[in-house]
């Protein structure tokens, strides 16, 4: 056995000392590092680890339900599947983005754009990529989830409009908030991917309809999968709206105006409650709720028939002969005419070097107020207009609410115009010519009114000088069923008309529909009487093309004890009698098909 004598091996002996020094040195280095990580930065690291595992997930609050006056649901929320990307969970950006784009048939840039829009949110914020995907898509994504780290599918409430187009302009729609809006201060409570009321009631009652989103703190693993829920703050659903609107009436008008351009509004004369409001052509509000594509949006926005315009509150048209009611009221009130005052109509009236024609070529002969309204004699009203002067006409219009916004609870209402000498001086810096008064007297020229304004004229006659601000929503009720707000009728005008004035005008308007010579005789109804006034307004046409006249009809019913007022406008519809009056006819028929007693009980019940 060979032996090796260790003693005295100075080379090796020196190494032990150094080995131990190195060992101690490293242990100290490690402990200093641990001290740094666990003690000095321990709290920071603990926070990191908590953020890692605890993720706050938004629980979208369902929007308030919208009911009609009979409790029928007009708009509600339904579950839908939305696809999100949580940037933090992405492992390979291209893999996730390209993979999802391919599965969902989307453009890569489309996804990147959405991610960019939320780039100032924390990386754990889920960015909505696509709303309301089909079950097929859900299955596809689920099957490929392993290859799509960061992609999440969430079930969330989605707005659904049960009657689609029928309530397009009335209820409006919601859509995703835009990047530009998110930058504004007024939207500070909104986050990317949130829906916001854009149109109609959805917009004007946004603050009531929108609930308060809840949140859920969940523990997630490195793949972003939920492991367990730590706590939940339940969302508070939005408040429900109960409308004055009657679904049946709305549908009837919708059908009557199908394939037409125009609008119609029905109000409860005793409260101002809006029973129906339809504008045509319309759009499908459900398209917006699942993220409308650019092409679809362009198609709607650039449609030359302007489906996005709510003609009832935004369409301004010359009122035509319906305006004669206003003159009649003012003339009788002022005592400038009475029941017997008559003028000779020879089919026209020369004035200021030209002849102002009556629509009836042969003329009406000697006419007094009753026939002048029933048969819509223009010459009678030329004369009355001259007697009144434009400023008296303007004064009356203003009191009733013609030419200005009615204050209906819809966004974007337009005013109108009933001219006055002052107005002309102000705008054109020229004096008023009496000849212009003649045009105004028959609702032409510089008179521009919306259907919602004209219904106020019918309403004030029906309701003996009183009319109310139109109101669509009757009350707002919390999700628990507590009434938050009830809208009492708001007085608009309260005119103390002479009894005779009202009697004469009402009689005449009844005659329009119910007398053989009346302009709307073809729209008379058997069991209930309707009163009204036709109007035919010359249109400007479009792009130099004359597309025909606008047809008007304003009405109230029943004639004896009116409870509803109607206005109908059909663009390029031709005569008011043939195009517009039939709409009012079906409305009245629908409203009053029941026996009088039941009907009254029901109407009282609404209030």
């Amino acid at each position: 056995m060979e032996h090796f004598v260790k003693d005295g091996n100075t080379i090796i002996d020196s190494k032990y000392v150094w080995s131990k020094r190195i060992l101690i040195f490293f242990i100290i280095v490690l402990l200093i590092r641990l001290w740094d990580l666990q003690i000095m930065r321990g709290s920071e690291m603990r926070t990191f680890s908590e953020q890692n595992r605890i993720r706050v997930k938004k629980i979208v609050a369902p929007r308030g339900v919208i009911y009609d006056r009979n409790g029928k649901i007009l708009a509600e929320t339904r579950p839908s599947f939305n696809i999100y990307i949580i940037p933090e969970d992405i492992k390979d950006f291209n893999q996730t983005v390209d993979g999802l784009a391919q599965l969902m048939n989307m453009e890569r840039d489309e996804i990147i754009e959405k991610l960019k829009a939320a780039s100032n949110m924390p990386p754990s914020f889920p960015v909505k990529i696509k709303s309301d995907v089909t079950m097929d898509d859900v299955a596809k994504v689920e099957a490929h989830r392993v290859y799509l780290p960061g992609v999440q599918i969430q079930i969330e409430p989605k707005r659904y409009y049960n009657y689609g187009k029928t309530f397009a302009h009335l209820i409006g729609y919601v859509s995703e908030i835009s990047d530009e809006e998110l930058k504004k201060k007024e939207y500070k409570n909104y986050f990317p991917g949130d829906f916001i009321g854009r149109y109609g009631l959805e917009r004007s009652y946004e603050s009531y309809l929108r609930g308060i989103d809840g949140e859920k703190r969940v523990e997630v693993d490195a793949m972003g999968r939920e492991i367990r829920t730590l706590d939940v703050k339940e969302p508070i659903p939005g408040n429900n709206l109960y409308l004055n609107v009657d679904l049946e009436v709305q549908e009837v008008i919708d059908k009557a105006l199908e394939n037409k351009r125009g609008g119609s509004v029905v109000i409860d004369t005793k409260t101002g409650g809006v029973i129906a409001l339809v504008s045509r052509p319309a759009f499908d509000p459900n398209k917006f709720t699942s993220g409308i594509t650019k092409e679809e949006w362009q198609k709607i926005a650039l449609d030359t028939r302007h489906p996005l315009q709510n003609r009832v509150i935004q369409g301004r048209y010359p009122p035509g002969s319906t305006f004669k009611i206003l003159l009649a009221l003012k003339g009788l009130e002022e005592g400038l005419i009475n029941e017997k005052t008559s003028f000779l109509c020879r089919g026209g009236m020369p004035y200021g070097g030209r002849v102002f024609k009556c629509w009836k070529k042969g003329g009406h002969g000697v006419v007094s107020i009753h026939r002048a309204i029933v048969e819509s004699c223009d010459v009678f009203f030329y004369n009355l207009g001259l007697k009144l002067g434009v400023d008296k006409i303007h004064e009356m219009a203003d009191i009733i609410g013609l030419g200005r916004k009615t204050g209906i609870d819809l966004p974007g209402e337009k005013d109108g115009l009933v001219p006055s000498t002052q107005w002309k001086q102000r705008v054109y810096k020229t004096p008023w010519y009496e000849g212009e008064t003649l045009s105004v007297a028959i609702g032409q020229g510089a008179v521009w009114l919306t259907p919602i304004q004209l219904v106020q004229l019918a309403s004030i006659v029906a309701n003996d000088g009183v009319n109310y601000k139109p109101k669509i929503v009757k009350k707002i009720v919390s999700p628990e069923g507590k009434t938050i707000k009830t809208f009492e009728p708001e007085l608009n005008a309260n005119l103390k008309f002479k009894k005779d004035t009202l009697r004469i005008v009402k009689d005449s308007m009844k005659g329009v529909v119910n007398e053989g010579s009346g302009t709307a005789y073809s729209s008379r109804i058997q069991h209930v009487s309707m009163s009204g006034k036709t109007g035919t307004a010359q249109s400007v046409g479009e792009r130099g093309k004359n597309l025909g006249d606008h047809a008007w009809f304003i009405a109230f019913a029943p004639s004896e004890d009116p409870s509803i007022a109607i206005s109908v406008l059909v663009e390029y519809g031709g005569h008011g009698s043939s195009a517009a009056a039939p709409v009012a006819k079906v409305v009245t028929e629908t409203m009053f098909k029941e026996k009088k007693e039941i009907k009254e009980a029901k109407l009282n019940g609404y209030r």
Binding site: I11, K15, D221
Partner: protein, 368 residues
């Protein structure tokens, strides 16, 4: 050569209990590392215990043979180890993109782990043969030993198992330093290693291995890959604060933020659940264990024993230091198990076999 009572008395009980303490901590930690929040898992622990008892058997068996005999016969161990490493490249099992294991009778073993103590033994034999009293070794003396080290290392790095390759190279370096080289030899070795590092970087290392080093330098360069893992490991350890989150309460690994948390990254589990307090205790146990290994080297009967003991001390120290350092962002991420603590039969057996050698050397320190 038998084993008598005197020798049992000379067993280093300090080393045994010190090692056992670390191992028990490892077992407890392994239960947490392999359990979820809902279910405790004991299957890994049981496999680890089985490997442990096999290791005890291995120690008892090898204690019968004088370590000098083992060192002298280490050529055969070396050749069989080399054979297995070659076998891995041919019939190895692929897991996680690497061929590191071979299956023998249904048991997966990782030959590269065993190569570590085998090379210590073989180097001890080769260097001891060249060694003359108080004369540092020259470049000629170490040519063959270095070749004997590099051959398996190249094969192991090819698997790829960069971690084990690095440990073997560093351990060999420690042994050469321990034995003592001429100054000129150090210089030559230094130059060679610099050149070969460049060669390694350009020709051998795979992109993912390079990424690990790059992401060490800039941890945010690769926020979803290695940098991410390194960062999550650091967060895990740091979030333990002073007393830790408590046994089974570590969220970082249970929620899969840490890869390989029962093997290479097992310290993150310990650091997260037992905090600074637990880590001090664990580090002191390791320090004392390695200190004891050095002590055994110092008191060994002959230089051969000293070299082997020092080699084993180097392996344990290097693995401990590098493993912990990579979890606290003091070193790039390389696949190196934490001795006694990381799950893995081959690693544990290799460590226990090494400890057998230490006990063997210590037991026979008074014998001539």
């Amino acid at each position: 050569m038998g084993i008598d009572k005197r020798k049992v008395y000379h067993l280093d009980w300090y080393l045994i209990f010190n090692g056992l303490a670390i191992f028990l901590i490892g077992i407890v930690n392994l239960i947490s590392a392999t359990s979820s929040f809902y279910t405790s898992s004991y299957s890994y622990m049981i496999k680890q215990l089985v490997a442990f008892f096999i290791g005890i058997g291995l120690i008892v068996f090898t204690l019968h043979y004088d370590y000098r005999v083992i060192v002298r016969q280490s050529k055969w161990l070396y050749l069989s180890g080399l054979f297995l490493v070659v076998l891995v490249l041919i019939i190895g099992l692929i897991a996680g993109g690497a061929k590191r294991w071979i299956s023998i009778f249904g048991i997966n073993i990782q030959p590269s782990e065993f190569m570590k103590p085998i090379l210590v033994l073989y180097l001890a034999k080769l260097l001891h043969e060249k060694k003359k009293q108080n004369v540092p070794l020259g470049i000629k003396d170490i040519m063959f030993p270095i070749g004997a080290v590099l051959l398996p290392v190249i094969l192991i790095i090819k698997q790829p198992d960069l971690g084990t390759g690095i440990i073997i190279i560093l351990t060999s370096g420690c042994i050469l330093w321990f034995v003592g080289l001429k100054k000129s030899t150090y210089a030559v070795l230094g130059i060679i290693s610099v050149i070969s590092s460049f060669a390694l970087w350009h020709f051998v290392m795979k992109p993912y291995q390079k990424m690990r080093i790059l992401s060490f330098i800039n941890i945010d360069a690769d926020p979803s890959g290695f940098g991410y893992h390194a960062k999550q490991a650091m967060i895990a350890v740091g979030s333990g604060k002073f007393f830790g989150k408590g046994f089974m309460n570590g969220t970082q690994h249970k929620l899969q933020f840490i890869p390989e948390h029962h093997t290479d990254f097992i310290f993150t589990v310990f650091g997260e659940e037992w905090g600074f307090f637990g880590s001090i205790i664990l580090f002191l146990l390791f320090a004392s264990f390695i200190w004891r290994c050095i002590k055994i080297a110092q008191s060994a009967n002959d230089e051969m024993g000293s070299i082997v003991a020092f080699g084993v001390a180097s392996i344990i120290f290097l693995q401990f230091a590098i493993n912990v350092m990579m979890t606290i962002h003091l070193s790039p991420v390389v696949g190196i198990p934490l001795p006694f603590i990381s799950y893995g039969g081959s690693s544990l057996l290799s460590i226990l076999g090494s400890i057998g050698l230490l006990l063997n050397i210590n037991m026979r320190r008074y014998m001539f």
